[in-house]
Symmetry: C2
Amino acid sequence: MQDVPLLISRILTHGSMIHGTSQVTTWTGDGEPHRRSYAEIGARAAQLAHALREDLGVAGDERVATLMWNNAEHVEAYFAIPSMGAVLHTLNLRLPPEQLVWIVDHAADRVVLVNGSLIPLLAPLLPHLKSLEHVVVSGVGDRSALADAAAQAQVRVHEYEDLIAGKPTAYDWPELDERAAAAMCYTSGTTGDPKGVVYSHRSIYLHSMQVNMSQSMGLTDEDTSLVVVPQFHVNAWGLPHATFMTGVNMLMPDRFLQPVPLAEMIESERPTHAAAVPTIWQGLLAELLAKPRDVSSLTQVTIGGSACPPSLMEAFDALGMRVCHAWGMTETSPLGTIARPPAHAVGTDEEFVYRLTQGRFPAGVEARLTGPGGERLPWDGESAGELEVRGPWIAGAYYNGTDAEPLRPADKFSEDGWLKTGDVGTISSDGFLTLTDRAKDVIKSGGEWISSVELENALMSHPDVAEAAVVAVPDDKWGERPLATVVLKEGSTADFDTLRDFLAGEGRIAKWQLPERWTVIESVPKTSVGKFDKKVLRRQYAEGALDITQL
Amino acid sequence: MQDVPLLISRILTHGSMIHGTSQVTTWTGDGEPHRRSYAEIGARAAQLAHALREDLGVAGDERVATLMWNNAEHVEAYFAIPSMGAVLHTLNLRLPPEQLVWIVDHAADRVVLVNGSLIPLLAPLLPHLKSLEHVVVSGVGDRSALADAAAQAQVRVHEYEDLIAGKPTAYDWPELDERAAAAMCYTSGTTGDPKGVVYSHRSIYLHSMQVNMSQSMGLTDEDTSLVVVPQFHVNAWGLPHATFMTGVNMLMPDRFLQPVPLAEMIESERPTHAAAVPTIWQGLLAELLAKPRDVSSLTQVTIGGSACPPSLMEAFDALGMRVCHAWGMTETSPLGTIARPPAHAVGTDEEFVYRLTQGRFPAGVEARLTGPGGERLPWDGESAGELEVRGPWIAGAYYNGTDAEPLRPADKFSEDGWLKTGDVGTISSDGFLTLTDRAKDVIKSGGEWISSVELENALMSHPDVAEAAVVAVPDDKWGERPLATVVLKEGSTADFDTLRDFLAGEGRIAKWQLPERWTVIESVPKTSVGKFDKKVLRRQYAEGALDITQL
């Protein structure tokens, strides 16, 4: 067979030739959205590559950063930068400024493409971005804040459209090694410095094929996908690459991620598919219930990032939008599982049960569960262990190691190279994953695991409980035991005995898993993205700052 | 990203674990079909690999031949042989015996798996198969003819079920190089010796993903595919591998390829998809029209091998079976194009026009047209040239070359490594291929090409013409000119002037393309597979054996 490397330039060429009339539509918020065909995207990506190489001197596998919303120019960057052999580095605009500075420095970004609307975010950082030499601005937004900061930081500012104007609309894309770096993305872990995940041409190409498989998202050129998941977040789940393989149209919200514009763009542009995290969708649901609109085009919604609450899934089902769970992470490109019910469950009561799981592993993702003692656990739907995965689009190390000494922390990679996901769950005999906890939050009690999430959910189902967080605390006899920290609703008089009896009732929680240590707190500490910050609670407990009742 | 090779063993493991309850159903012709789950196939494939290695001494990348119909045991061989590192060599049971002998010798097959029903074909060949040491027989069929021949040829005969019985149901599949040979298939060209096409693990893996993409066949585990296209013909178009990736069920007709059993298995097993060549489907249509049955389950039919006549497509549409054209060849794994109409044509008059083309190139297949003078031709739907293709599942050489000196005949591969398909046609601006002729049959007249097929179709649309073949003959002025050879219907009195005027009428054929040389023949010579044998006509013309009228 011919030895043809799997390259992003081939996806670009395919999309812009065979699906030249497919479109990227970008929401502008002021009437007419902006439309650009795949053929135009292809021509402009070539122009951008010429400009980056000839005008800005981008060479070799240099990183080129983007600080952009989802829009047509960001798609052009997605294809131009890797196709020319450089590495697309998407910056997460939601990160705290100091993390952004750290990441740009770590990746040694010399060029950043930025949307005009994000200048207020970028300008104050410029003096701190030591490696940066060029800023390329596209789209609307006041440029004035940039001029002074750039002058001070000795950074040159370019207008995107001026930079690419007049460049040739074709580029002789190089024949790269398919294992060469194509794109990178930093994980925003809660502990330690961010870690860079580097995607190769091969991994992106294979992942895109997977996204297009009928058991996965399985869209065609009759579809339009509303890509709400940001392009700075794991390559927008691979959608821009996947759509260029099949001619699926893209509807890009740019900065308009609020419920009202989302509802408007669904009604007027009539996408058939959307991809988003549950939080965004929760807001959209409230808007649609408050002000009904014609959203009948949208029949398939892929939800990932965190589990979709059953109530949200049912509410969207009622609107004719079928939610499909997917699970993944930055290190898995991200598609790791997708919850299409198996044939035998379709149309039965079991169907919803399957849809609430994280889903089934596709060909290309191998999975195993590792128990508290490092043992392999069976796929029986009962045994809970840490999920480990392997495959051609799963990270094998983090950025900035060397071939001789790759960056493979032992808490992230097994000795035989599998990725430790940090997620704890079960796998059914037919390969459906159900996640129950994060590995760092699970309570390791006498060689068994207790899920903190299960205890929290059970506690929060009690009418007197506003919020509850369960953390592991050291125990002489069992190693670890659960500590229940509870926020009571105003006026509640429930005591701990009542709550413990409630947990034990109706088979909610097994007796040996019931917490002995209890405390009432005013609110659960949260991280910047709103997740429970359990390390604060663990520290407070260790410092004796919590008033513990022992039952 | 992890460096995980794309191996057939991974497809097998995925299918037998994640889709363990999906089934291969084999038609038996005597009531109850035989059913085997993917989990069982996985276990038995491991047993077969143990038997081949431990009992028959299959080692390294040795070829193991199959002479089998489509059935569960053949699927087991499909996975066991490549997964263990050997090479599956499917023998085309329709080839003339002397070609089979040549091919087995060329591939140095030491082991052949054969269906009991094919013993009458194999037994007489045994004395001539010098490399052969073991015959493994599965399924029904009288074994008696084999014993004598095998004894005479010093070949050992084994029963498939006895051989695998008691072997371990797991096998520690080796981590092979994904570019290693996995399977091979000989082309039955009309000229010269057959040529071996070798598929790699990588090419089969990628091709399977492609088959499962939504723009391609795009089946899911809710589907059952009736695999009529033989497993000895380009890996049954990749279906056995593709189905194990997604859990699509397979319905295998074994030796029951006649219209009546096909109609019966469609009615009783209710497949949703079928893959076949037009000839088989033509017979099925006649049967269904003669004796209507409930074939409502079957909504999608992939037809390839040769173009599906519009009338056949319409007849199947009327039965609710939607025919989808695909084009490919042994050298292209085979999926080269598939005729899913573009979104803008769906539901319009254009839709049928698109469906009659050979289809659109998927991501992974690059195409170009080369004109009579070696120039590249535009994709304008008008310029006809020889189709050349490139991609990771396209052959780059034939079997038995070496790395230093690959077997790449100049009429089959361009200097820069693209496959010359030998097919002549046009490509539209949106990438739809329409084939008009074979390169060897096209008439090269004054630097332009005249399609022999177009002239033949136009001639055969005349009511007095039963058959017509057009071949190129040398011409002093133009290089080549068309010679029209015509079979008249009984009692016809049409003369050549009438026929030429008919061709020229209603814009059927351009004036400069009209033949000057005409002859009446009794019948068009045919090859063993029923195609026009034009080299016979060219030879007869060269020898002066035809009575030519010059207009």
